[in-house]
């Protein structure tokens, strides 16, 4: 992966996203009783799990993406673009 050695790896971004991600999961598990009882009310409260999923996917998705890049696991240099 010569390109990965020449390109700057997103270590800082990975750490920031990772910390936010851990904070989100810690909150979810530490406050699970309150979260479960609120989210289970249905109706307009249905928006809460949806918004939660988007927020988690943004931060944790960003973290996992950077995680593999930092490890050097990246797409093939000649991307297989399909025409």
């Amino acid at each position: 992966m010569a390109s990965s050695t020449t390109k700057k790896k997103p270590v800082a971004a990975m750490i920031v996203m990772g910390i936010v991600s851990i904070a989100l999961y810690a909150t979810l598990l530490l406050k699970q009783d309150m979260i479960n009882s609120t989210f289970a009310q249905g109706g307009w409260f249905a928006l809460l799990p949806i918004v939660t999923a988007f927020v988690f996917s943004y931060f944790h998705g960003g973290f996992t993406g950077h995680f593999w890049t930092v490890l050097g696991v990246e797409a093939a240099r000649k991307k297989r673009e399909v025409k």
Binding site: F39, G42, F45, I50, H60, G61, T64, A76, R77
Partner: protein
């Protein structure tokens, strides 16, 4: 909602690790073939004591954010046709609602065993025909020695692309052709019905994009992620309105699956396109045996055949679940192996290129 709130399971470290692990493997396969994982995750959650509907709802709530991340990743590789995905996704949403309605009717008339039998028979019939065909096609490509060449639309797809119905024609990037939405709507609908019935719409969605519409395998599997996002978002909202989503389960599975889906998506850039068909076909055919094992159990519960002993039922159930896990692990193994080989080949190519240019 009191009864639902009290049905939330207790989470311990082992349960969290189990959900994370299954999520990772499911995500890896989804990132590669566009779907998968749900057929193990839903029964997997139920085996932990999660009620069936809550397991389906929680699985769906992890699916749409996972599919979104996967679709965005593969969009960067030029593999996603957003327009095709959204159009198929909307009709798939209708299919989900219709499929769920059929499920409810069957459940009301024949009970849980009848509903389970319907799901298993649908699994066996669809996976045998579609999965068998996909695998056969992959084998044919491998044998022909054309595994590296660009995929061409088949006869059926060329016919579909040749039909011009004024006022319904849409140009799709994945097909590089105009196709009538009157063809895409039933395909999306069938994908949604499958998602509502066997939880894996992609087993119909991806092959139909390849064989009926003429999309290349890589584009079909990537576009399936858009369909999964649209379907999953609508489905999650519907279940959440009844308070059925256990957000803890959904987010823990998501934690593992986002690691997996990124890796699976990266994997598609290293492999020959027919590998998508190999992985999908293999998983479909193996899962078919898993569901087939359960058919006698449901037939016995319905009184169609003699009652099976408790030990036999337990054996069949465990065997069925083990085969499903094996299918997912095998898929993940093939993806990782193909990725590793692709990476090694790239390194070799790079080294020989450097030698030719006198850099070494």
């Amino acid at each position: 909602m009191h009864d639902i709130a009290t049905s939330f399971i207790n989470l311990d470290a082992i349960t969290i690790l189990y959900l994370f692990g299954v999520g990772f493997v499911g995500g890896l396969v989804s990132g590669f073939i566009g779907s998968g994982g749900a057929f193990v995750l839903t029964p997997g959650m139920m085996s932990l004591g999660v009620p069936g509907l809550m397991a389906v709802a929680s699985n769906m709530c992890h699916k749409f954010p996972k599919a979104l991340v996967g679709a965005m990743k593969r969009f960067k590789y030029g593999q996603v046709d957003v327009k095709l995905g959204v159009i198929l996704g909307i009709s798939a949403e209708a299919g989900v609602l219709y499929g769920a309605g059929i499920q409810e009717k069957i459940k009301a008339t024949y009970g849980d065993a009848g509903s389970n039998l319907y799901v298993s028979v649908a699994f066996v019939v669809i996976l045998a025909t579609v999965g068998g065909f996909v695998l056969y096609d992959a084998w044919k490509t491998y044998r022909s020695g054309n595994a590296n060449s660009e995929e061409k639309a088949g006869k059926l797809a060329l016919w579909v692309q040749s039909i011009n119905i004024p006022g319904t024609m849409v140009h799709f990037k994945a097909l590089n052709a105009r196709v009538s939405v009157l063809f895409t709507i039933p395909l999306g609908f069938a994908t949604g019905m499958m998602a509502a019935t066997i939880a894996v719409g992609g087993f119909v969605g991806v092959p139909s994009m390849i064989y009926v519409l003429g999309a290349p395998s890589l584009m079909a599997s990537a576009t399936e992620l858009v369909i999964a996002f649209v379907m999953g978002l609508g489905g999650s909202l519907k279940y959440a309105m009844h308070g059925m989503v256990d957000i803890r389960l959904a987010m823990i599975i998501l934690a593992g699956s986002l690691f997996g889906i990124q890796l699976g998506a990266i994997g598609t850039t290293y492999v020959k396109p027919f590998m998508i068909k190999v992985v999908m076909g293999l998983i479909m055919v193996i899962v078919l045996f898993s569901r087939g094992l359960m058919v006698p159990v449901y037939l016995s519960q319905l009184g169609v055949i003699d009652k099976l002993g408790d030990t036999t039922v337990k054996l069949l159930k465990n065997g069925s679940f083990a085969i499903m896990i094996f299918a997912l692990l095998l898929g993940a193994f093939i993806v990782l192996r193909a990725m590793w080989q692709g990476k090694q080949a790239e390194k070799l190519q790079h080294a020989s290129g450097a030698l030719e240019h006198g850099e070494v």
